[in-house]
Symmetry: C2
Subunit: 296 residues, 2 copies
C-alpha cells in the first residue's frame, strides 16, 4: 500500500504544442510518477496537467515542470481568457491514498520554497496551505491577474509567502497549495421538472444550510429529458457520497420522485469506495489492507 | 490496471521449517509475485502458501515451489491429519483482478502439463478446471489419499489427466485447478437467539433453496452474546455481497431482529467493493479505471 499524491499544475500555454510537450516531458522523466492527463485550451491559452505518484517523486515532477515553464513561457506576451498570474499559474497537491492533507501542505511548502529559491519566482500559498485567511481562495490570490499583481506586489498586503517581492521578469508569480480531492458526482431523478432538482440541490449545498463540503445545482439533461442534481464533493471524507445520496433520495421522495441513478464523473480515490461499502454493509473493523490489490 | 491471479498451493510439510523455507524461497525469487501468507500446521503436517501477481509470474512461482517440494518431501514417510495425495497436494488458481476464470483454467492446464512432463508427477484437474464431472470436488479426487490412490492409480477411472498412470516414487500426485475467490463474510444480529441465525442462514444457503454461491450457518458468538450468520461467498460475482446482506436484513426483520454489522474475514478483491458501491449508489456506467489507484 503506497502513499499517493495527485498534482494538477496549470501552465499559461495552451497553443504552442512544442512548449506543452517540453513541460510534460519533465513529468514523464521522473520515475514513480504516472502522467494521467494533459488538457490544453487554446482560448484560455492554458494547459492543465494531472499526475500521481509517491509524494517526493510528485514534488520533483512538479518542480521540474515548473522550471521548464519558467524557462519557456513569457508572461509579457501571454493573452488568454482564463485568469492567471504566472507561467506556472497554480500547483495544487491532493491526497489520494495513505496521505493526509497535512503531508500535502508540507509538500506544498517545500515546493514553494524551492521555486522561490531556485527559480527566483515569488510564490503564494493557497487553500489548505494558505498562510493568511485572505489567501485561501485562488481568485483572491490572483486578484488583478499578472498585470495587476505586477503593479501591486510591492505593497505589504501582496508580499509573497516565499521569494522576492517582485515578479519574475518573464514567469511572473506562482500559487502553490494543497486541497482535498474533488469528486464530481451527479444524481439523476425520475422527473423532467428541473425545479425539483433545484430544490433538492438547495437541501444539500452548504450555502443553503446543507452539507459543509457540498456544492450543488439542479440542472436539466435535455438528451434524457431528465432533471439532475449535479454536485462537487469538495471533501469526500468530511461529507461522504452515501450521505449525500441518501439525502437526495429522501428529499426526492417528498415530491414523489425517485433517484434513478448516479454518476461519478472522472476519477475518485479508492477510499470513497471503501467508505461507501462500509456504510451500506455496516462493516465492522474493516481495514483497507483486506483489499487484495492493496497488498501488491 | 494489471491482471492479477492468486495461487494457494498446499504442501505436505508442516513441521520441518527448513523445507518450508526452501519452498517459499522459490516463490519469493520470482519477480512480480507477492507472497501474502505462509501458514503451517504441525498436526496436519501441511503448509498453505498464498501469493499473488501477474498470471505468468504466478504460474512460474507455482511450478518452482512444486518442483522444490517434489525434491524435498517424501510421501512414503508423511503422516498428518489432513487428507493428501502428494508432496504438492493441491494448487488452485483464483482470479483477482482483470482476469477471468477461463484464463485461470488455462493457466491450471499449462501448469498441470508442465508438472507432469518436467517432474514426472501425475496431475488431476479439479473444480472449474475439472475434465470429468466426478473430479470437480477435491475430496472426490483425493479419495483414499496417498496410500489409496497409489494402489488404484492404474485403474481406468483413476487415470490422471496429465502425466504417468503411476505415483511419483516420493512426491505422489498433485491436484491442480481453478476456482473463484472465496469471501468469508459474517453478518451479526441484534439477538442472542441462535435459532434465528440458523433460520436466516437457511434462507440464503444454496442447499436450502437460497443463493447458488452461498454457504451459510447460524452460530453463536459467545463473547458478544450475539447470534451470527456466518457465510462463505464462493462466487461473489454470481451471488454478490449486497444481495446476501439485504436478504439477511429482510429475513431478520421478520423476527423483529436487526443487522447490527457485518465482517469481511481476511481478504477480498477490490471488485467486490466496486460492485457494492455500484448497487447502493445506483451508479451508471462506472468503470474501475475511475478509481485513481487503478491508474498506477
Amino acid at each position: 500500500m503506497a502513499k499517493i499524491v495527485e498534482c494538477v499544475p496549470n501552465f499559461s500555454e495552451g497553443c504552442n504544442q512544442e512548449i506543452i510537450d517540453a513541460i510534460t516531458a519533465e513529468v514523464k522523466k521522473v520515475e514513480g510518477v504516472t502522467l494521467l492527463n494533459v488538457q490544453s485550451d487554446a482560448s484560455h491559452n492554458r494547459t492543465v496537467v494531472t499526475f500521481i505518484g509517491e509524494p517526493s517523486a510528485v514534488k520533483q515532477a512538479a518542480f521540474a515542470s515548473c522550471a521548464k515553464a519558467t524557462e519557456l513561457i513569457d508572461m509579457e506576451k501571454h493573452h488568454g481568457e482564463h485568469p492567471r498570474i504566472g507561467a506556472t499559474d497554480v500547483i495544487p497537491f491532493i491526497p489520494v491514498s495513505e496521505v493526509t492533507i497535512e503531508e500535502c501542505i508540507e509538500l506544498a511548502n517545500e515546493l514553494g520554497k524551492e521555486i522561490a529559491e531556485k527559480l527566483n519566482v515569488p510564490v503564494y500559498m493557497y487553500e489548505a496551505a494558505a498562510k493568511k485567511p485572505e489567501r485561501i481562495k485562488l481568485p483572491d490570490v490572483r486578484k488583478g491577474q499578472y498585470e495587476g499583481l505586477k503593479a501591486e506586489i510591492g505593497k505589504p498586503e501582496r508580499q509573497p509567502d516565499y521569494g522576492p517581492a517582485h515578479m519574475h521578469p518573464t514567469a511572473g508569480a506562482t500559487v502553490v497549495g494543497a486541497r482535498q480531492f474533488l469528486i464530481a458526482y451527479n444524481i439523476n431523478l425520475s422527473t423532467s421538472d428541473v425545479k425539483i432538482a433545484k430544490k433538492i440541490a438547495n437541501t444539500i449545498r452548504e450555502a443553503k444550510g446543507g452539507y459543509k463540503y457540498c456544492r450543488a445545482m439542479g440542472i436539466m439533461i435535455e438528451e434524457r429529458n431528465m432533471a439532475q442534481v449535479t454536485i462537487n464533493m469538495v471533501n469526500y471524507e468530511g461529507t461522504p457520497l452515501h450521505r449525500v445520496f441518501e439525502t437526495v433520495k429522501s428529499e426526492a421522495a417528498r415530491y414523489g420522485v425517485n433517484v434513478i441513478g448516479s454518476e461519478i464523473v472522472g476519477l475518485m480515490p479508492m477510499q470513497a469506495l471503501v467508505d461507501t461499502a462500509e456504510f451500506y454493509l455496516r462493516l465492522e473493523d474493516f481495514d483497507r489492507k483486506q483489499v487484495m490489490e492493496e497488498n501488491i
